[in-house]
Symmetry: C2
Subunit: 128 residues, 2 copies
Amino acid sequence: MRIGELAHRTAVSERSLRYYEQQGLLVSERTPGGHREFHERAVDRVILLQQLFAAGLHSKKIAALLPCMRDADGGPNELATQQLLDDLRSERRRIDRTIRDLRTSRAVLDDVIATAEHELPPAGAAAS
Amino acid sequence: MRIGELAHRTAVSERSLRYYEQQGLLVSERTPGGHREFHERAVDRVILLQQLFAAGLHSKKIAALLPCMRDADGGPNELATQQLLDDLRSERRRIDRTIRDLRTSRAVLDDVIATAEHELPPAGAAAS
DNA sequence: CTTGAACCTTACATGGATGTCACATTTTAC
DNA sequence: GTAAAATGTGACATCCATGTAAGGTTCAAG
């Protein structure tokens, strides 16, 4: 598929898709005219990339990480180096911290929302 | 306490603390000479701010949110406006999404780590 | 062949918390 | 009183995924 369809199907901008490719996170063939042609597989890859980005990993680490992932074929194509391993463990700790912070923030939000709803019932709701 | 102590106790840079104050997220008295004097209370406040930042809230929303929080005294000082309420609900959805993405990423990391450890045992470990 | 949609590359802009540097003033210790 | 440490302000830099605009080429349909 071409970039427009991939962008549409993943809800990721073409700009970002080109950026991902440039960073080595996404591969594509090229038509004789130079247009990108993506494999069906790219859809899942892009979704994974989005998740990793949302988790705060930077493209460089994702690029280092991807070859060490087990894909559909089974084993990884590369083994994580000691340096990468340390990085990943560090990222893991950061992720755990972030999850805790997210839960805290969500609780704060819920509390504010609940309190406000109590005083300020949404339109269409019956007052207690 | 002064800014240095607060920075040390919260592990947040003085730069950031001044920024928080500038954004209306943190209050301080001033000594006759103009130095900031923080209340003991500021420690918890800064920790909360860090959690909210880590959860991806921007300072402007935090500033709008803070007066609507229930503090130690009991009720909130202000009630959330409808606009803020919509914002917070939107943030809440974003947070839920992010938590899911974090879990996914953590699983990816764990898988890579486990695979690499299997082949590349940490120094000092016995081989299987 | 023509036309419009889709795509290409390149370059510059953006946001937002934080880092950093310069220089002045205050505070603290002696 | 003096030196050193801490603090103040202001300005500029940084990161990095993404937005956006310009100008040219390719693709698909009539």
